[in-house]
């Protein structure tokens, strides 16, 4: 109702104006739905004064009839609107009150939906894999119980190299590696060749001593590179994640650990390509703002050989105990594939160049997550596992 209508109403039908004022005040004053209903009955019901006025229009003088009729309806519509509005208000308020009364302690924990944790090692391997998958590498796998040939010989390792000794490599007792079918007499030893190769002529004393031959637990995942090159023509772009084994146990060494090695062999691959690849990997794994550097090193199966350092994650390069005050942490070894290796797998070393790299997964995970002791990775204590 606008001001003109109200003015008109007061001028011409003061009673209607009074009814409107009274009804609107009563509606506003109604504090609950019942009271509002009474207001509605009183002002809009069949027995209300307004209804009475509207019914008795016919008894009015002809000139007044249209005025009272029109204004009476205006008042009725206005009162109905006011009552409905008040009704909404009251309903809203009572809903609000009801909802307020249903308050929960929202600080209580939620329903425990199951949440498992992938192991830090496999998470880290997958992270590394994904970076290299994105660069176009495939993931290659191979046996963990490996032949000496693949683990050492084909990787340019001299026969008298210390890595081949029992101090640095786990060897398999070959008697236990091959078993004849159940029909054969007794628990049979391994291939006779292995026995004689190790110079064990038999007899009781020899029978109880382990027989060392060609089988060992791989000390690196590099044999997978050799196997891959043996089984396919170049180009080769692979990474080789997996378990490897060396007899060592202290805070940074466990007898079983994990490596991810990589190999790219193609025409025209350069040391600069290796640098670009490793830097891209390190930026993605450790963060783009972390300084990295490539440093010359030595490995028997690469030439030239390098190591990759990343700015210390703890001190940010200013020097601390964990980086021996150098500001740098060594994270992986790499280099251009030694041309000798191509000879072992039947590749043309004149045509091809390539690079290889290898990193210790435990070290990467420990550096990134601040784990102080590698042994904790294999204790499988849930209090450890569920942190990651």
């Amino acid at each position: 109702m606008d001001d003109a209508q109200l003015h008109d109403l007061q001028e011409r039908t003061p009673e209607l104006a009074a009814l409107l004022a009274e009804g609107s005040a009563a509606a506003a004053a109604a504090a609950e739905p019942d009271a509002l209903e009474q207001v509605r009955v009183r002002f809009l019901g069949r027995k209300s004064r307004l209804t009475e006025i509207l019914r008795s229009i016919s008894s009015l003088p002809a000139a007044e009839r249209p005025v009272v009729g029109k204004l009476g309806n205006v008042v009725r519509v206005e009162l109905e609107r006011l009552v409905a509005a008040r009704e909404d208000e009251l309903r809203g308020a009572s809903l609000a009150a009801a909802l307020t009364a249903e308050r929960l302690d929202i600080t209580l924990p939620g329903v425990p939906l199951p949440r498992g944790h992938r192991h830090l090692i496999s998470r880290t391997i997958r992270e590394v894999e994904d970076i290299f998958l994105g660069m176009g590498y495939k993931v290659a796998e191979g046996p963990e119980i490996e032949l000496d040939y693949y683990n050492f010989t084909a990787l340019n390792t001299p026969d008298d190299h210390p890595a081949r000794s029992v101090d640095d490599t786990f060897f398999i007792d070959q008697r236990t590696a091959i078993r004849r079918a159940a029909g054969d007499a007794g628990a049979s030893p391994a291939g006779a060749a292995a026995v004689s190769a190790a110079g064990s002529p038999g007899g009781d004393a020899a029978a109880s001593a382990p027989v060392v031959g060609d089988l060992l637990l791989r000390t690196q995942t590099s044999p997978v590179q050799v196997r891959t090159m043996e089984s396919q023509e170049p180009p080769v772009y692979i990474i080789c994640p997996g378990k490897v084994y060396r007899p060592d146990l202290d805070a940074t060494h466990t007898p079983m650990f994990h490596q991810v090695e990589g190999l790219a062999v193609d025409r025209g691959i350069t040391l600069a390509d290796l640098k670009g690849t490793l830097h891209q990997f390190a930026r993605e794994f450790f963060g783009a703002d972390r300084a990295i550097r490539l440093r010359p090193h030595f490995f028997p199966f690469t030439e030239p050989s390098v190591e990759l350092d990343v700015q210390c994650l703890l001190c940010g390069g200013t020097g601390c105990r964990s980086c021996k005050y150098s500001g740098w942490l060594e994270i992986l070894g790499a280099g251009m594939v030694d041309p000798n290796l191509y000879g072992f797998v039947g590749y043309d070393s004149g045509e091809l160049q390539g690079f290889a790299f290898g990193m210790g997964v435990e070290r990467m995970a420990m550096l990134k997550h601040g784990v102080p002791d590698a042994r904790a990775l294999f204790d499988n204590d849930l209090r450890f596992l569920e942190q990651f």
Binding site: P112, L113, P114, R115, G116, H117, H119, I121, S122, E129, F132, M135, G136, K138, G142, E144, I145, E146, Y150, D160, D167, I172, D173, Q174, R175, T176, A177, R179, P210, V211, L215, E230, S231, Y237, K243, M256, D266, R267, L271, K275, T277, R293, R295, P296, H297, E303, P304, V306, K324, Y325, S326, M336, P339, F344, G346, D379, N380, D381, L382, L385
Partner: protein
């Protein structure tokens, strides 16, 4: 290798900081693992408080018998004459001494203050070698040479504060196991001149060395060169402070001047030396030979060691005196009565020394160098330098000449044809040919023209004899790369022709399995591949089961890790037991990893180099396995209600979830006969003809043997291969959208021992084309059904691809299903 920087600076004029030196070396291939600052704190203000002083007066302390009251002049810069109280007994008035003034902080962190010692003021301190950090203990103070000027900063003469580079020398560079060798690297990388080797030749006196000692190399394959010199009239005593400082800083302990000189020369040049007491050599002859059968030697540590025939010894005409390159015998050692020395420098066979060193269980600074293979050219240099020092420091008279005998000479260094373009091609960086040649020259290679035309003939490069690692032109490229600097290389990426980064189906399946199970609340574990030999015994596997006979290690680290696992279960159960012992309420874990099984038949596959064969055989079987263990509910305790306890159906749910995650249908479950599983609460999973594995409740007696008492443990172990061949196949669209599905529930009562799978099979056959799925959703046994019976409620989901099903269609299927159940299984609608 520990290299004191002040020592290095004697050979190469490095004038920048130790940190920059470390950076230079690291970036040119000699990794500096750290800089160890030894001695007093290296702040210049502190070092200014260390001075050369002269004792002016020395009197008894008025109040103490053993103390001296001295006046010491430390020059005008040090504040003139100081009164100092000193407890040492080895000095006299007029001696030159090392003084630290009040305010100085010493090597051990002690800060010096003016002190009142028994009523007398003491302003400063006269220092001992110990207080300077030059040796571990010293009986008195340092008495310095008289010629050192009073008041001079002590740091001009002695390494009061010293940065020591800790260098990781790679095994191909034994030449860098010496300060001079490292200096050579610095000179090459920094383009600085290198001082000639610090050899010097002492004046010779007396009868010639050759008349005093003879040398025979009886086993020339193990000794390339053996040189000896004779020094007479040495007096064994303490070494001067500078020598003690250098040895200590380089990581060796000063012993006496004779031993110290041999060690010093070894550290300086990399050539180990051995001094014999000439009087103890019988027959005036040294023989380099393999040990005799049953030969013994009592080494310096007093241990009687049996020698093996391939151990090399240095003997006289009667007995072995030294295990060559490794350990001297008590019989021939220099002692305080020694006057005449026979000094040995030799080149032994590296691998032989390494083996002997292992046999003997002793690795010394000398053997460590011999192992790597040394350059015989160093033999006369080492002898000369040591002789000079014996003359200068031990008062020895050096006999003229040397005995110099060759065994098997190493081959001459190769003459390598070198093309600078090959380097550019491998490095991915063009380095000017002249610069490449210059780098090789700085590394002491001989570089000649390879002929005409130069562009094709390249260069002929002959490496120096101490660089046995330079065998091929690619080795020279590495030298050019590292000296030129890897920081100058651009960053590029390979072409990656035909490369696509994709996981194999097998790898994707393993990822999916791990994600599915972690999504369901299980924690992944990684256990050691090796276990105790009897780790699987408690599983009760039959003798003909391949898993019962694990592959053993020939050289295990411990009995706990003697064999490789044939099943993942023992490892997983150890994880469960360990976590329960640590008060975990629930353990829900899985492991994806390999088991290792012996070959049942056949021989090991031989390597076939060069054969391009996609199916390279593996030596043994290494099946990928998935093992799961559950103890306690899958979800944690909550105030919202008790979680469902774990039972057979939880582990079956895990197995089914894995299958569902991989999109594998058609699983068949049969009662399992795995000996470690509860016979009534275990099943095997079959996919087609593959028995994928067993799962269920672990037998309580088996659980107890793995240290899990009074707790239900459910386990599963599945082979991954049959999952990988079937999993993640391409899903094809089925039209479930056009026409609605119709559901229909029915509950039937039938004999309690009729398996649900059997009932569903009847339902499916009877349901025909319109029946899409049939699932048991309720099981009831109790008062509402007769004894021996149970009620199974089945939800049928019906559909047609052609039309919306009518009540008549649905009723028809229902009737057929009920009729078949009644007919075949005697079931009644409930």
């Amino acid at each position: 290798m520990r290299v004191p920087v002040s020592w290095l600076r004697e050979y190469v004029a490095w004038d920048r900081s130790a940190e920059e030196l470390a950076e230079l070396l690291s970036m040119s291939g000699s990794e500096v693992e750290g800089i160890d600052w030894v001695g007093a704190p290296h702040d210049p203000d502190n070092l200014a408080l260390f001075r050369v002083g002269r004792v002016l007066t020395k009197e008894r302390h008025p109040n103490a018998d053993k103390l001296w009251l001295c006046t010491v002049d430390v020059g005008p810069g040090g504040g003139g004459v100081h009164q100092i109280v000193c407890g040492a007994q080895n000095f006299a008035a007029g001696d030159t001494v090392a003084v630290s003034l009040a305010g100085a902080t010493l090597e051990n962190g002690l800060k010096l203050r003016k002190a009142n010692l028994r009523g007398v003021e003491s302003d400063g301190m006269m220092l001992s070698e110990q207080e300077l950090g030059f040796e571990q203990t010293s009986p008195g103070i340092v008495v310095l040479p008289a010629g050192w000027p009073v008041g001079a900063p002590l740091t001009d003469y002695l390494p009061v504060s010293e940065p020591v580079l800790e260098i990781e020398v790679t095994p191909n560079r034994p030449d860098c196991l010496s300060v001079y060798g490292v200096a050579r690297e610095v000179a090459a990388a920094a383009k600085l001149p290198l001082v000639p080797a610090p050899v010097g030749e002492p004046p010779a006196t007396g009868g010639p060395a050759g008349a005093a000692i003879a040398v025979e190399i009886a086993d020339p394959d193990l000794c390339a060169r053996y040189g000896a010199r004779v020094i007479r009239g040495v007096s064994v005593g303490a070494s001067p402070a500078w020598l003690k400082a250098r040895l200590t800083h380089a990581g060796m302990r000063p012993i006496n001047n004779v031993v110290d000189v041999t060690n010093y020369v070894m550290l300086a040049l990399g050539q180990p030396l051995h001094g014999f007491d000439a009087a103890k050599i019988r027959g005036a002859k040294l023989i380099v030979r393999r040990a005799r059968p049953d030969e013994h030697i009592v080494t310096l540590d007093g241990i009687d060691r049996a020698l093996r025939p391939d151990n090399l010894v240095i003997a006289d005409t009667e007995r072995a005196l030294v295990i060559a390159g490794i350990f001297g015998a008590i019989d021939a050692e220099v002692d305080e009565h020694t006057t005449d020395l026979v000094l040995e420098a030799a080149t032994f066979n590296g691998p032989n020394i390494m083996h002997t060193s292992k046999d003997v269980g002793w690795r010394s600074e000398a053997s460590l160098r011999f192992e790597k293979g040394l350059d015989p050219c160093n033999v006369p240099l080492g002898l000369a330098m040591a002789s000079r020092l014996f003359h200068e420091l031990c008062g020895g008279a050096v006999a003229p000449g040397a005995v110099d005998v060759w065994g098997q000479r190493p081959p001459a260094p190769p003459r390598l044809r070198y093309h600078s373009a090959d380097s550019d091609r491998l490095l991915g960086l063009v380095v000017a040919p002249a610069e490449q040649a210059e780098i090789l020259r700085r590394l002491e290679c001989e570089v000649e023209s390879g002929g005409e035309p130069a562009a094709n003939a390249g260069l002929i490069v002959t490496p120096p004899p101490f660089r046995r690692d330079l065998e091929r032109s690619v080795d020279l490229i590495e030298e050019v790369g590292r000296v030129h600097g890897l920081q100058n290389l651009p960053e590029t990426l390979p072409l990656r022709r035909e490369a696509s980064g994709l996981l194999t189906r097998d790898q994707q399946v393993r990822r999916r399995v791990a994600d599915t199970l972690t999504g369901a609340g299980l924690d992944e574990v990684v256990a050691y591949s090796f276990v105790a030999a009897d780790a699987g015994t408690a599983l009760g596997l039959a003798g003909d089961d391949r898993r019962a006979a694990p592959i053993a290690l020939a050289n295990p680290m411990s009995a706990e890790q003697a064999v490789v696992r044939t099943t993942l279960l023992p490892g997983l159960l150890a994880v469960v037991a360990g976590n329960l012992a640590r008060q975990a309420e629930r353990v829900a874990v899985f492991e994806l990893g390999r088991a290792y099984l012996p070959r049942v038949t056949g021989d090991l596959p031989a390597p076939a180099p060069g054969r391009k064969d996609a199916a390279q055989p593996w030596p043994l079987d290494e099946p990928e396995m998935l093992a799961v263990a559950l103890c306690g509910p899958l979800s944690g305790q909550s105030w919202t209600g008790a979680p469902r306890p774990t039972d057979f159906f939880t582990i079956k749910g895990c197995v089914e979830l894995v299958l569902a995650g991989l999109g594998i249908a058609g699983a068949v479950f049969e009662r399992s006969h795995e000996p470690y599983l509860h016979p009534g609460k275990a099943a095997d999973l079959l996919l087609g003809d593959d028995r994928v594995g067993g799962f269920g409740l672990l037998r309580p007696d088996v659980a107890a043997r793995y240290g899990i008492a009074d707790r239900d443990v459910c386990v599963a172990e599945l082979s991954v291969a049959p999952l990988a061949t079937r999993g993640l196949s391409i899903a094809l669209f089925e039209d479930l959208l056009t026409f609605p599905l119709a559901g229909q529930d029915l509950a039937v009562v039938l004999d309690a021992d009729v398996p649900a799978a059997q009932m569903l099979e009847v339902v499916r056959r009877a349901g025909g084309r319109l029946l899409r799925t049939a699932t048991v959703f309720d099981v009831y046994e109790g008062d509402q059904v007769p004894p021996g019976k149970r009620s199974l409620a089945v939800r049928l989901v019906l559909r047609s691809a052609e039309r919306t099903l009518t009540e008549k269609d649905i009723g028809g299927v229902r009737r057929k299903v009920l009729a078949a159940l009644e007919r075949e299984l005697g079931a009644a609608l409930r």
